[in-house]
């Protein structure tokens, strides 16, 4: 849940790539963890704060989102991924972990497929790369959007009021880049993408049904699927501790994260 403390450890920076001036927020030390946000734009959550305790977290605002100028030049999700990879390079980061949320999950998959040797581990939070036919991004009033994004919007307190101008330019960009519900070109690459991958779905996701998770597992050779109980689409907002624990554990141990390290001794 967002509160006044969320994101205070993060500092703002900008990096040039492909002619864009790209904003990012950064916190923490250690192996870089690059985050690509969802269609609603970059918004820090308590999940980011928790990840920042273990990683150097760099949350990008992708070109065309938020306060950045309208992006009319990026033509495809693959092109957006290439731009973001260039931005990472220009931060002088070679190898990194990658986290993609929803729309950003699809960008992250493209990026991992384009730069296999650079991505150490991939975490997809409620990814929108595989969708039931006809799926539309959340739209409507803030309340209607909240009901799609969150399992329990009533627990979150007042949500930020979106700027209509930002919404309009973002919607056009997302519509152009999101691609087909089943993207054959991307799926062909996923079949031999051996990057250790963790796919997370909230059990109450009202944007992308959690049943979509199984397709990643079927397609990708090194994929783990984890359901986050009682979370909606915005997992890191609604269950930040659960989100950060499994993300950190997976990025640290990859497939060995299935071996429990939880002690059960009660009284020695």
């Amino acid at each position: 849940m967002a509160n006044s403390e969320t994101g205070t450890a993060f500092t703002e920076g900008f990096v040039e790539a492909d002619g864009f001036r790209i904003r990012y927020l950064e916190a923490g030390q250690g192996t870089p963890l690059i985050h690509l946000h969802g269609a609603g734009g970059m918004r820090l959550t308590r999940g980011h704060d928790l990840l920042g305790r273990a990683y150097r977290v760099i949350a990008f605002e992708m070109p065309g989102f938020g306060q950045s100028p309208e992006n009319t030049s990026t033509a495809t999700m693959a092109a957006l991924a290439a731009t973001m990879a260039a931005a990472v390079t220009n931060l002088r980061i070679d190898r990194f972990n990658l986290l993609g949320t929803s729309f950003g999950g699809k960008a992250a998959l493209w990026l991992a497929a384009q730069h296999r040797e650079r991505v150490l581990g991939l975490v997809l939070e409620a990814p929108a790369a595989i969708r039931p036919a006809g799926t539309q991004p959340p739209s409507g009033t803030p309340e209607e959007i909240a009901r799609r994004l969150y399992a329990h919007p009533d627990r979150l307190g007042p949500l930020p009021v979106p700027d209509p101008a930002i919404q309009a330019k973002t919607r056009a960009l997302v519509a152009r880049l999101r691609g087909p519900d089943r993207d054959a070109a991307l799926e062909a690459r996923m079949r031999d993408l051996a990057t250790p991958t963790l796919v997370l779905f909230g059990t109450l996701d009202h944007v992308i049904p959690p049943e979509m998770g199984r397709h990643y597992k079927e397609l990708m050779p090194n994929c783990h699927l984890v359901f986050v109980y009682d979370a909606g689409h915005a997992i890191s907002t609604e269950r930040p501790e659960a989100f950060a624990e499994v993300t950190t554990d997976f990025l640290e141990r990859h497939e060995a994260f299935v071996i429990s390290r939880t002690g059960t001794v009660i009284h020695p």
Binding site: L200, T203, G213, R214, K217, E218, H224, L225, V226, F227, V228, Y229, D230, R239, A242, F243, E245, V246, F257, V258, I259, S260, T262
Partner: protein, 358 residues
């Protein structure tokens, strides 16, 4: 109307048995226990021949009142010995159990006896939490999460992990799977939470022991929730478990009711009962607060000769909407099994043929 017989593994207690829960294991007689389980199968064969549709088994601990700590073991035993009747597990107590183990064992049963298993998932009355040290204040949430996990384990075709509040698994991938679709599944309880969960997951609802009116409140709430999720439950989606005293005549049944032991069998002591009531304050019927049940005397919902009982069943159907009645014809824990067998036989002969079209 479908009829189920609630089989409790009747351990016939000697008169000098300690009457307080937990009953010391030293007082257990192995020969009496073995006889209880042998007769359990015999009774189930008997009600199958009488034309009952289901039998049900349950989970209770640490006393001879209901001698079945594992409904899965009861069901496996009965499925192997009785050829056709459906066996309803009403049910495993979810918050005190490993949900994956429940999912696996029920899937195994569903494979051993395809088409015969019915599942009820239960929060359990508050006294049950004394058995495996469950904090009563966590029972509701553990139940909801456990039920969701059981359904996911049955339905998810790929291995998955579970990042819960109360349960945590990195790998779930059960073999055998249940039949597809999985067995008919009911959420057992009268609360708003139980009704909402059942509606959201397209499960049935099982209510028990309350008055027709209060159980009707609960099932009305459930139907309302189902409508919000775009479906309408039928009569088979609602179970009502209740006690019945059936006599040849109304007077005979009333006499039996008056002779009934007014003490709860094997209760917890009074101080502990009061502490349990204070520890569990979330119980409700369709959102309306009510005290917790901590193992007291259960009411008799049906009492009379065959004619009166048929009318009561008709009123029950109209008020609760239940299409499945799960009946005890004598209090669990009472030793007079002859009277119970006579009641079952009378029910099969004089009541069952007249309620099929209700």
């Amino acid at each position: 109307m479908k009829i189920s017989y609630f089989e409790t593994g009747r351990y016939v207690p000697p008169p000098d048995l300690p009457r307080e829960w937990p009953v010391p294991p030293a007082a257990y007689d192995p020969a009496t226990g073995a006889e209880a389980f042998r007769l359990m199968a015999e009774r189930v064969r008997f009600v199958e021949q009488l034309g009952f549709d289901w039998i049900s088994v349950s989970e209770h601990h640490y006393s001879p009142r209901i001698l079945t700590p594992s409904p899965v073991v009861s069901a496996a035993w009965l499925a192997a010995r009785v050829p056709t009747i459906k066996i309803a597990l009403l049910g495993p107590i979810v918050p005190t159990s490993n949900p994956i183990r429940i999912a696996e064992e029920l899937a195994m049963l569903d494979t051993l006896a395809p088409g015969r298993i019915v599942v009820g998932l239960l929060r359990g009355t508050t006294n049950e939490y004394l058995s495996y040290d469950l904090n009563p204040s966590e029972a509701r949430e553990r139940t909801d999460e456990g039920m969701e996990l059981i359904l996911k384990a049955w339905n998810e075709p790929q291995p998955f992990g579970w990042q819960g509040r109360y349960f945590h698994y990195r790998t779930v991938s059960i073999w055998p799977r249940p039949q597809q679709p999985p067995p008919p599944t009911y959420v057992l309880g009268t609360s708003a939470e139980a009704g909402a969960f059942a509606a959201r997951n397209h499960c049935g609802l099982g209510v028990s022991y309350g008055t027709f009116e209060s159980m009707g409140q609960s099932t009305a709430y459930y139907r309302q929730q189902c409508a919000q999720y775009g479906w309408a439950p039928g009569p088979d989606d609602i179970i009502y478990r209740a006690n019945m005293i059936l006599g040849e005549t109304d007077d005979a049944a009333e006499d039996a009711l008056n002779r009934r032991d007014k003490q709860a069998p094997f209760p917890v002591r009074a101080g502990l009962r009061d502490a349990l009531l204070q520890a569990d304050t979330t119980r409700n019927i369709a959102g309306e607060k009510r005290p917790a049940n901590v193992g007291g005397v259960l009411p008799i919902s049906f009492c009379g000769g065959p004619d009166r009982v048929v009318e009561q069943i008709r009123r029950c159907r109209d008020t609760i909407g239940a299409g499945v009645l799960d009946l005890s014809l004598q209090d669990p824990g009472a030793g007079d099994t002859d009277a119970m067998m006579a009641g079952l036989e009378l029910f099969g002969r004089k009541v069952l043929p007249r309620i099929r079209d209700i």
